[in-house]
């Protein structure tokens, strides 16, 4: 299965703002809380210990008031350039929820590796986020995501 790229989600956006502002938007809670989460959601909690190994804990609150917490550790902190952190659903105290606790069986992707890169050109800043999910059952052998990629490719042809 070597020919298969690891399944990733990649999202990128160019903002009409200086690099420093984008870096702050990602790394300072007072800014992060202002935008994180889908439309209609707020981010009422945000703790960021910005150093390699440091923890983050933030939340999203849905329009109907349900709060979801996410936590993880920073693996790379390169100011104005690159951030790499893990992200898992957790409780309010930052205890990571298992797949079972979320009503998902073993093997569902619980932890995401998130890489954020910042690039500056002509007064604009491009931020790219890549998300790789991995489930506990994926340490041995082919990940379900790869298998899934192959299957969808075949199904699309058929």
């Amino acid at each position: 299965m070597d020919e298969l790229k690891e399944r990733q989600i990649e999202v990128s956006r160019t903002f009409d703002a200086p690099l420093e502002m984008l870096w702050k938007a990602w790394t300072e809670p007072k800014h992060f809380m202002k935008w994180y989460g889908p439309k209609g959601f707020t981010a009422p909690t945000c703790e960021i210990d910005l150093r390699e190994g440091g923890r983050h804990l933030w939340s999203m609150q849905s329009p109907d008031g349900r709060q979801m917490y996410f936590t993880g550790n920073y693996k790379e902190v390169q100011p104005m350039t690159r951030l790499v952190y893990t992200d898992s659903m957790s409780d309010a105290k930052g205890n990571v929820m298992s797949a079972e606790m979320m009503g998902m069986p073993e093997g569902a992707p619980v932890t995401m590796d998130v890489t954020v890169t910042f690039e500056h050109a002509d007064g604009k800043t491009t931020v790219s986020v890549s998300h790789v999910g991995h489930g506990d059952a994926d340490h041995a052998g082919m990940g379900w995501e790869q298998a899934f990629d192959k299957l969808t490719a075949v199904l699309a042809k058929g």
Binding site: V11, R13, F15, H31, A99, V127, W144, A147
Partner: protein
């Protein structure tokens, strides 16, 4: 996401969590196969293959033919699509977050400009 979707997804993930079952699905992606045909490449006994097929069938990932002895297994696309949609949800979340970030950056830049004046 409705509880019903989560429930279906949980069955799908459960079925996909096993590497042998993923391999079986990959084989079935090329067409219908019988238990005997599936047992061969995996060096598995027919009861062992049947057990995996039962899990896949329960998750709706395959259907089994009703032809008495043969009962070929056939891949079903719908639950796989639900997994794809679930993954796609993450992308959508980022896009919407970025819309908000864009608006926020405009606000603070305007505030900075106003206070400079």
């Amino acid at each position: 996401m409705t509880p019903m979707t989560i429930d279906t997804l949980s069955l799908t993930f459960s079925a996909l969590a096993d590497p042998t079952r993923r391999q079986i699905l990959a084989h079935l992606a090329n067409g219908e196969l019988s238990v005997t045909q599936l047992a061969e490449p995996f060096n598995m006994t027919m009861p062992a293959v049947s057990k995996h097929l039962k899990v896949l069938e329960h998750a709706g990932l395959i259907v089994r033919g009703r032809k008495a002895q043969w009962r070929p297994a056939k891949l079903q696309a719908v639950p796989l699509k639900e997994v794809a949609d679930w993954v796609e949800q993450y992308r959508q979340n980022w896009e919407e977050s970025f819309d908000k970030l864009d608006a926020y950056l405009k606000t603070i830049q305007k505030e900075e400009k106003d206070s400079d004046d």
